[in-house]
Symmetry: C2
Subunit: 150 residues, 2 copies
Amino acid sequence: MEQLLRRIDEEITSSGGKRSRGRGQIIEIFFRSRRHLTVEELTRKVRVKNRNIGSATVYRTLKLLTKMGYAKELDFGEGAKRYESNLTEHHDHLVCTACGKVSEFEEPGIENLQEEVARRHGFSPTMHRLAIYGYCSRCAPSVDTVKSGS
Amino acid sequence: MEQLLRRIDEEITSSGGKRSRGRGQIIEIFFRSRRHLTVEELTRKVRVKNRNIGSATVYRTLKLLTKMGYAKELDFGEGAKRYESNLTEHHDHLVCTACGKVSEFEEPGIENLQEEVARRHGFSPTMHRLAIYGYCSRCAPSVDTVKSGS
DNA sequence: TTGGCTGCAAAACGTTTGCATGTCT
DNA sequence: AGACATGCAAACGTTTTGCAGCCAA
């Protein structure tokens, strides 16, 4: 973790940027947080530590991390975008449209088929997004009417 | 086509809605159009036929069609959402990040794996979105350096 | 006549940007 | 000192909403 922060810091300074207190805090809290933060959520967290940070800086920092490849933008269609660390293995998302819970999965078979489809269309893929929407196990509409329940 | 429009009309009226001139025009033009329209594009098209229609009505109509299941919202991360008919076979998208071209594909294998993944997670899928981003054949970065070409 | 539907304009929302100021080197 | 970074608030583009009038049933 410290190592990661140092690496990012170096990459920023070596391309003409500067080390700043606020940005360091934003980056650290971003990588220590659970996944899928909105800018507003991250701003709130950061402001607990440093009341002076405004959301513009958080936007600018996340955009920077995204451009550097350390963060990834997600859009679950909620209005606001979400961001997550781009360091973990690639994964896709299961989004429950009832409770909003997002879980993750990996499926190499899907990845492979995507590569194949792309190739078949003369397309050079750089990235993809797959989200499956539906009901998680807790929210699944009551399964049947056994015993004409309720 | 006429049949589809009549069906939608019926569904609207039978749930307390009314037939209105403007909405009918919007719906017809929407289904006759090429895929992936933004609200602004559709509004422009509709206004050629009926100068009085405002984009608020287009927003309201597309939202209605979406809720009824006849249209589908897409988000390719351009800022504005796009809409397409939800009547055709299911397909996914290849988005060229250079020229913006969007093409479509179907891959039953991917669909099946998605079902399986969902089941494995106790998830009841209702829908999914898959977009592969990259370069289309026209925009692909020059392929190689054969003969140290310029 | 009633209630839905409309256009318009204003509001709301997430995001970006201009600018004067602050901070790092 | 100089350049980059920041907060604030204004600007932006998209979408939603309040409202008075309109139109279909």
